[in-house]
Subunit: 455 residues, 2 copies
């Protein structure tokens, strides 16, 4: 036996599983054909957060006169922003490698394929192991829009991160998290940005009421909802609006951000007999696939395409591999409704749990409340009273157990883990009312919501 | 009977109690001799947060070159900062008044005294009521240092908030929260700041290890620990250092920030027979005093001198007045160990629960871990790897129940309510490990700590 565990893919799901397993004394190999850290660290969450921070500082410099800070001659230097971003990514990739090295994990920079239970081809070698964890991630969806393929004006998110200068006009196809984050970054830096979204609202996992608020709160971006792109002619994007009228937009760059899909191809899933379902590799809530001792975690399962969900899935698989009985006793299962999400735009948004519509769809009567963040003293001190921001709380009317907390406003991503813990612990509105929030914080909006909801 | 409840003092404890009682249909009077909102809103948390935000924007403008934002000619306009601060306070005071008006609470702008159970003198009138809530707050301590009284160079925090121009040299006596926040604000704006603290470390409710980290992380401020001020001669502060040597510091302004004490005088406590203890008005954990139907909440109890603790105490008293049996069944008591605290400096700090030393003092074997925030991708993206920041987690070694979470780093105050909920729910390290934190956030430092602690 070459290894206790071989992990295909060194992104968040793969590297965390490797670290946890190594910590428990397992002999682990991670096969990664590209750079460890995966999409998130190399071309996703981390580089965008770095650029967003630069964009935020740029807006601050432009807009801080009323707060008593005067500046002359503000300019955005795209090249420096890119350099800081690159340095951040390099640092963090180094951190992941160090983490794996400390655990004596073999990191193999090679393509890997699942041959069958206990067998993985890594590069030219066939290696044996007790367990396999598949963590191959996801790839951007490229819809078959005429003129989109091989069009130098059209890029995916990875391509947009690498552009050499700020575009004057950016058209983004897709108003999900990726589309909205890039819209916000480039809009803040002065690019004219248009977002074309097929659905009636942006960011589908966000409660519609707050989705609409977020949309109106992002300055400098025009949203075209319920619109479908029919063709891209050179740098002209052609789309039909909800009335069926045809419109066009000129762009220097077109970002294709209609979504990502599990990377289920090219690594032997089919040949090995691994079952897929409509989301991705089929797993139960402990990350077991249909094959014995073959596990799948992260984007490839389609359960969630968020890095932190991949972390958790990696941990769950690792826990069951290390000690199945203990993992079962400890309740090591994925609770999808407790996975928070964040949109790193200006302003930010975050949430966890169901939307009002989703709770009603489950046949449960909801009780909800939406409170404006101007109830928070810190929010007013930092933004004034005209800045949009709100918290929506969604609970079961009968049991009063909280099922969703959604938020638009600065600091939301840093605050929302408490909401995830609240849902994880199945707290009721009345339990949450007893939690003491520090004053003055924007997080107090959640507390205000708990008190504002009907008794 | 004139009212169901008369509340002496319209600060955070008083106005929240009034709102909750009014919401339950009680006829309520709030007597406030000054402006509603209390110390926190008028001369404490809110104005300092407004100024801190300005100071932060000023530092951002000065330091964002490496993030790709170039500016020329940055200047801090103190007058504009003060104007924004004043506008913020006015807005929020208006909000509190509106809240009370909506609840049909009688707000009387008058001095009030407790006459006895069910009797309060408000201005010239003696009013009757079923319950009295005492919420008179606290006052700054003015230690008997020779030369401090009637010295125009010496101010308290209220005085410092009103100064007409930025001082060149500021000496702060006291390294608690108030001292540290003002040090950070003025230090960031270019004032030469010295903090003189008697104790061996700043911010006593913070774990020493992080206190030391915070101290080293605040730029532009010199801390003199273990030092005692012996005299103030004009604008010269004389103090002895731990070796007993005498030192002097010249200042334009001296801030006296050695602490605050419960305002137990001047409103009839003694005459009415209200018992005090060494902290303030003696209350049980439901806010009951020794007198029937007389309750005390907030700073005057000395249980905690934080606005959000006052909120909670106000709510607890209100819950017991509204329906004692239900409040008892719901566990409406003050859990002092679940009161979070925050230091709004640059960088920020926050925490909840015990320090390592406090847990050991309880005779419980602690298990602790301290992790640096450079483990957080967002922290690195926004600060680089040299910025100080850490999370310390303190748990019981045997039960693994978490008893303290302390943090230094940006966003700490917005993140810490989740830690308060964690302590409130008595989660163990292993429970916390199952909570999903959004990635990438600085809050993930807490998750990293939960995983880094010994198994």
């Amino acid at each position: 036996m070459d290894y206790d565990v071989i992990i295909i893919g060194g992104g968040p799901g793969g590297y965390i599983a490797a670290e946890r397993l190594a910590h428990a004394g397992k002999k682990v190999c991670v096969a990664e054909q590209d750079t460890v850290g995966g999409t998130c660290l190399n071309v996703g969450c981390i580089p965008t957060k770095s650029l967003l921070n630069s964009a935020k500082l740029y807006r601050h410099a432009l807009e801080s006169e009323k707060f008593g800070v005067s500046v002359q001659g503000v300019s955005a230097n795209w090249e420096t922003m890119q350099a800081w971003k690159a340095q951040t990514v390099t640092t963090l990739v180094g951190g992941v490698l160090q983490l794996l090295k400390r655990g004596k994990v073999d990191v193999r920079n090679a393509h890997a394929s699942l041959v069958g239970p206990g067998k993985v081809r890594v590069g030219d070698e066939e290696l044996s192991c007790e367990h396999v964890i598949v963590a191959t991630g996801s790839v951007p969806v490229m819809p078959p829009i005429p003129g989109a393929q091989d069009n130098p004006a059209v890029v995916d998110s990875t391509g947009l991160l690498e552009i050499s200068e700020l575009p004057k006009r950016l058209v983004i196809i897709g108003g999900g998290v990726i589309g909205v984050e890039f819209a916000s970054i480039f809009g803040a830096l002065g690019t004219e940005v248009h977002v074309i979204e097929m659905l009636p609202e942006i960011v589908p996992f966000m409660d519609d009421e707050l989705g609409s608020l977020l949309r109106s709160a992002i300055p400098g971006v025009t949203f075209h909802l319920g619109c479908q792109v029919t063709e891209i002619k050179g740098s002209t994007v052609v789309f039909s609006d909800p009335e069926g009228k045809t419109n066009t937009l000129e762009a220097d760059v077109v970002l294709m951000a209609v979504g990502r899909k599990p990377a289920t191809e090219g690594w032997g899933a089919n040949e090995a007999g691994l079952e897929l379902d409509r989301r991705g590799v089929r797993v139960d809530d402990t990350m077991r696939t249909n094959l014995p001792n073959v596990w799948a975690v992260g984007d490839v399962t389609g359960r969630s395409l968020l890095a932190h969900a991949a972390y958790r899935m990696g941990e769950i698989a690792a826990a069951h591999i290390i000690d199945g009985a203990k993992a079962k006793a400890d309740g090591q299962v994925l609770r999808e409704e407790c996975i928070p999400w964040a949109v790193y735009s200006l302003p930010e948004a975050a949430g966890v749990g169901l939307t009002e519509a989703q709770l009603a769809d489950q046949g449960i009567e909801p009780v909800t409340v939406t409170v404006p963040l101007v109830l928070s003293g810190r929010f007013v001190a930092e933004n004034g009273v005209k800045e949009p921001g709100a918290v929506k709380l969604i609970a079961e009317a009968k049991s009063r157990v909280i099922r969703g907390i959604h938020m638009v406003g600065n600091y939301a991503p840093e605050t929302i883990w408490g909401a995830a813990a609240t849902l994880e612990q199945e707290l009721s509105i009345d339990d949450l009312r007893q939690v003491i929030f520090p004053h003055p914080t924007v997080s107090e909006g959640i507390r205000e919501a708990a008190w504002a909801i009907a008794d």
